[in-house]
Amino acid sequence: MAVLTEEQTYIKDQASAWVKDKAPVSSFRALRDSKTGQSFMPQTWRAMVDMGWSGILVPQQYGGSDLGYLTCGLILKQLGRQLTAAPLFSSSLVGASALLLAGNPAQQEALLPGVVNGSVILTLALDESSRHQPEQTALRAEQTADGYSLSGNKTFVAEGMSATHYVVAARTAGTPGDVQGISLFVVPAQAEGIVRTALPTIDSRDYARLSFTRVRVDSSAVLGSPGTGLPVLECILDRARIGLAAEMLGTGSQAFDMTLDYLKTREQFGKVIGSFQALGHRAAALYSLQEQSRSCVEAALQAVDNGAHNVPELASLAKCQVGKFLFQMSNELIQIHGGIGMTDEFDAGLYLKRARVLEASFGNRAYHRDRYATLAGF
């Protein structure tokens, strides 16, 4: 990967050590089994904020460190390894990116400090059906005397129950499918007319369905220029896809390490199972997939930091390649562990379930293959 700066190396090592020590998969399991309905532990989130992770993409003037996406990705990868639950991805990366790319100084001034100190959890509310289709946005924003009135539904909203604010993609003109007529709004979660319902997903994380009934916001809530929101939304989404790919890489890499360790220690027919050539060759193939998707993820993170022109291609590439790795890896994790892998007591199931949720987020492999082909002009 890119030769890291001293600071990046420090943060990477810090994240790796901290996550293993303070937020390992066992604490996620405890949270899941506690049935408190809590989607993350406040003290975990607090610690991340104190370490400055919530401000990594935010300029100093708003209390952040402005270290960029590669640094943020290094941390997300570590969280992915231990399935650590926190709003870091949804708010500190996606929400912050939305404000940085589309917000005006006043909006940034109003929310970024909160994003950095953790008091604001700003998440994107986009999908309306079971699929990721930005241009199909249907939620309507009717112009009113002093602003807009939003009505419609959103679903699969990450951190949707704990969010304090939403970036809502809405239609100010046109019909679902039109690239024109989409606008972005920042809406407080407490706004009158918003009803949120928790989605009890297999990964026991925070996802919500939102219904908007004549939710009134004034004109200052518009992020960017009304009606032309799709291009900037795509920029936000590409950063989200790349950040998510970094988390997925971590999840897959941990699954790989667990499997490799099992191959080296588990005995059957009086032999370590890793000595069976067929398993060895499968491990080699998985390792190759891991290394290649890692190359894509790191290249994509750097491309964002360098303002490269091919961020869209790299975003679809990273999400798709790491998606392929994680899909196979999560299945092999179960298969190679055999019976024990099927028990809830063992962690394999947690990784498998999380893997499918991540795959369905921000466009699955088929979505990004199609997008990559379109971007490549065929």
Binding site: D127, P200, I202, F276, A278, Q335, G338, M342, G349, L352
Partner: protein, 400 residues
Amino acid sequence: MSVEFEASARAWVADNLPATLAGVRMDMYGVVSADQAVREAFDVWRARLAAQGWGAPTWPVEYGGAGLTDAQAKVVSRAITKAGSMNPIPFLSGMGVTMVGPTLLEYGTPQQKSRHLPGMASGEVRWCLGLSEPNAGSDLAALKTSAELDEEGWVLNGQKTWTSGADKSQWCGVLVRTDRNAAKRDGISFLMLEMDQPGIETRPIRLIAGESPFCETFFTHARARKDDLLGALNGGWSVIKRLLQHERQSQTSAPVSNTKAEPLQALAKRYLGVSADGTLADADLRSRLAEHLMDTAAHELTIARIMTDARGGNVEVTATASILKNSATDVAQNHSELLLEIMGSQGLGWEPGAYSEEELRTVREWLGGKAMSIYGGSYEVQKNIISKNILGLPETTQKG
């Protein structure tokens, strides 16, 4: 086989199937209904089937069967299905009618047969099987659970795992080590014992898909009668090999799931919609869906071919049959993954609320289905069997 028989079977079902049961769902533990009347009707139905010997129709009448041929048995079950119901006894007997019973018929003494078979055939006695042990996995012969003979009979000590239905069974067939000094497979025996005794404890296993019929089963000075040894002392390996063949049969003859429910392509169109030309909106998925439907058809045509060949007495049958366990697994697991992909974010639900029953069931079946490539001879073991027993390739060796 005679048309009369078919007619008489239909008639019997028409006369004896309680109307209240038609179309009512049944599972491995009985009828799924809170309605008292339905539950009583179910007991009547079970009793009538048992009296008719149709719980295990191909078994000799003296052991609770009806002495029918396989063909006749098929006719009977078809008659019951046509009437919108099912024969619950094979399920109520746990591993009895499908596995332990047939093995008993071959290896059991007359006394053992009359002692154990009728209870299975009537569905009144549920059997489980204690085979796998922790840390043994696919290596069944590595089992450690021991049985020693004293004046009153066998004394068992050890632990089994993946014993399906152990917490609900009255009897258990268990594989035990009766000679520590013999070679792995030569020191094993097959014992039958009652579950309701102080020496046995069961603990249900929670799986990634949630609740499961599986248990961990602990034997602490558990007791089996001396004459409940099935087959020869230390001859348990041949008994179990035969028993597992019966298991494989019951597996591979099971239909592939998507032939039952709404066709996959219809469901896909419902979730994804279609393009202007009427093709599925997601062209990428469409190709993989078509490929999956073809793989499914190829698998089912292979089962059909084997059936015909078997009737024709073709010897290649067993060779071809060796691929079925894995191809059934491929088809079923790929089917589940495609369902999840089709349902998108609606195919990720764990608990009710925002998801349809179908969506929740799909997710649980997807998770539960991961077991198909692990239990009953793992995917890898099946490939070893094909390459060695069928293709005649030598044992795996050093290096390479």
